[in-house]
Amino acid sequence: MAEVLTHAEPHDEHDHTPHGWRRWVYSTNHKDIGTMYLVFACLMFFIGGGAAMLIRLELFKPGLQFFDPQFFNSLTTMHALIMIFGAIMPAWTGLANWMIPMQLGAPDMALPRLNNLSFWILPFAFTLLLGSFFVPGGAPAGGWTMYPPLILQTGAAFPMLIFAVHLMGASSILGAINVIVTIMNMRAPGISLLRMPLFVWTWLITAYLLIAVMPVLAGAVTMLLTDHFFGTTFFTAAGGGDPVMFQHIFWFFGHPEVYILILPAFGIVSEVIPTFSRKPLFGYETMVYATASIAFLSFIVWAHHMFTVGMPLAGQLFFMLSTMLIAVPTGVKVFNWTATMWKGSLSFEPPMLFALAFLFLFTIGGFSGLMLAIVPADYQYQDTYFVVAHFHYVLVPGTIFGIMAGVYYWLPKWTGRMYDLTLAKWHFWLSTIFVNVLFFPQHFLGLAGMPRRIPDYAVQFTDWNMVSSLGGFGFGLSQLLFPYLIWKCVRSGVPIGNRAWEGAHGLEWELPSPPPHHSWTEPPSDAVIARGCAH
């Protein structure tokens, strides 16, 4: 205690927030870096969304009205890359930055300078990637999956794509290291691993996934690079290479990546539903083990993305069974969330609304996932709009709604102000209605035989494409409410106390709103921990 007192003066100096551009560029503060991550993610969400709007515009009716097919392919490729690496992953890292230290009773992330670096890599990565629209040959158009030999036909954008992917990967790995080190070392005394909030748990598992698979992606794209420029033939059959090997390596990264995108959403939903059900999470430990099982299984299901490449029967059977197995822990999670609401006392503030939409619509995405696991049926679904509908159901009303739920849940904590609840409910209802108008008909299109990644289609697919496009425009426009609402909250929201929501538990709600520059300068007391970490 004496030491704390003697250092009180310089410590206060240190707490003083730097002003101007230095506050952001030189930032080592988890909240400022978290904010930058979230703002960056929001910007990318709108750029990637803009690409999606253009895609839906061209697909509104048959015939080519706006774009050359090559540019259309660039749009689909860039939409995916921007949304996955630019919007969703940075949004999760931003939320991790903001919340993990606050939820663990820590003053900041364990590695603040690394934190600064991992964020500031991203603007360079995306300048490189987006800049590829303006080079000869246009932006990459071989799909975000970058399958050779097609991707090797990319023009001047090719090395830009590869290096952008390398940079994104480096940023993710650094962020993941920081999360793991923080969780392992910065927990306040008394917070054992099995007392951590589920958002922290899911992020811990996500961070391990990231460290495991981002280097695999880096390896794969490096081999593409050397195939293109240095005469190697890793993926060229004519030189003794194997184009299918790329797919195996890519999806060994790609499937865990899918869980990297969704696991933190599981965490958020596991915090929001108990809060607004005024009841502890049902089966806390089961939730942790289910998440870990999903993460483990994610490493042994990759080939279900490529059932049509011509695998041996035994391989197909193995990947069918392992994929079906994922339904078990995922089902357990859905049942646990449902049981949390059972005999609860529910209220329907915006975070809860988004979490509920997540619960219903993610489950629909899970059902189509189960259908896709059935190999013979997958032969008909593979590379059609059925797959597009499936992964957009898990990524938009799944992941994106999870992020929305998280932001609406913690925004009052971050800003110290309550946002416009009515406007947020409008945002919710418009998003939920339009997201279904947008993606549900795509199931029909896929089953009726429409392949994905095509700029123009046979006339019998017109109706559902029109419906889908109208839903897309509605969904895109509704999202403009989101930044407006945040801006309005920051400027003129009603000031709010520590605990923004009646049923909220967790250490973050024990701090003032907005929290101090360094979250917990002293570890929370046992009483506070007991109150905050009660499952």
Binding site: N73, A237, R278, G449
Partner: protein, 298 residues
């Protein structure tokens, strides 16, 4: 000004609604997977429907409980939370075991069908199918017949950017080719699928066949069309293969065994004759060059 904009908007909306209703029939007929015209495609359809109904049943149950909770346990209705309800081993074991059982029930027939699909023995006709940017090449290995198949002229003209041609006015827009792939019905036809440049995927929904065409690999697939189902069947390339990926349809012309034999004989003679005036030794390449001409006159 605003009124004018609103008028524009409402007009646009009305127009799209009108178009929608005009298409309504085709839309509602386009909801599900085709049953197809082969034994395998029907098996696949039934697997698809079985897993679909299982999902519907689970959905009704799970969504039912969720909706029940949302309706009945509202704070606004005075619901008091039962904070002791955080764990129940019996229920948790049950909802882990039941899904496993359902999955096994589903996996067994799926595996059976898969074994059937993978059985490429006892085929009666072998055709090498090569995907290229952007079309298909069909090579009847035992009969010296080979030709290319590409998007037909009318679709090709209509699909240009701002072509001014209404796709509705083009018969089988984007699903028609210059030279369909001719096969006999009631015959186990084996496809040897490969790619010439990048990866393509040969997909015929009516046969339940989708196989990637990969350069350097030869993949096997097969189908046996019902005896009473000759006709034209349409599909598309299913793997992104570059700029014109959306414009490389597949059309299969299924004929009776007799008609097919006659066609094959005639085609073989034609190709032999076409090759004859040149050096006889270069028969196949000559035929290939001729067929490779951008758009053969029809």
């Amino acid at each position: 000004m605003i009124r004018q904009k609103l008028a524009h908007l409402s007009f646009a909306l009305a127009a799209s609604v009108a178009t929608l209703t005009a298409h309504a029939e085709s839309g509602w007929n386009q909801l599900n997977m085709t049953q197809g015209v082969t034994h395998i495609s029907r098996e696949i359809y039934h697997l698809h429907m079985r897993i679909f109904w299982i999902c519907v049943a689970i959905g009704v149950l799970v969504f039912g409980v969720m909706i029940w909770s949302i309706v009945n346990y509202r704070k606004s209705k005075g619901a008091v939370p039962d904070v002791t309800l955080v764990h129940n081993t019996k229920v948790e074991v049950l909802w882990t075991v039941i899904p496993v059982v359902i999955l096994v029930v589903m996996a067994v027939p799926a595996a059976k069908t898969l074994v059937e699909i993978e059985d490429t023995t006892k085929t009666e006709l072998s055709v090498k199918v090569t995907g290229f940017q952007w079309g298909w090449q069909y090579d009847y290995l035992d009969d010296g017949v080979m030709y290319f198949s590409r998007l037909d002229h009318r679709s090709d003209a209509a699909r240009e950017l701002l072509s001014g041609v209404d796709p509705e006015s083009v018969e089988n827009y984007l699903l028609n080719v210059d030279h369909p792939f001719v096969v006999p019905v009631d015959t186990k036809v084996r496809l040897l699928v490969t790619g010439a440049d990048v990866i393509h995927s040969w997909w015929m929904p009516a046969f339940g066949v989708k196989k990637d065409a990969i350069p350097g690999f030869v993949n096997e697939a097969w189908f046996k069309i019902d005896k009473d189902k000759p006709g034209l069947y349409r599909g598309q390339c299913a793997e992104l293969c570059g700029r014109d990926h959306g414009f490389m349809p597949i059309v299969v012309d299924a004929r009776s065994k007799e008609d097919f034999a006659a066609w094959l004989k005639q085609k073989a003679a034609e190709q032999k004759q076409a090759a004859a005036p040149g050096a006889p030794s270069a028969a196949a390449p000559t035929a290939a060059t001729e067929e490779r001409a951008p758009w053969p006159k029809s």
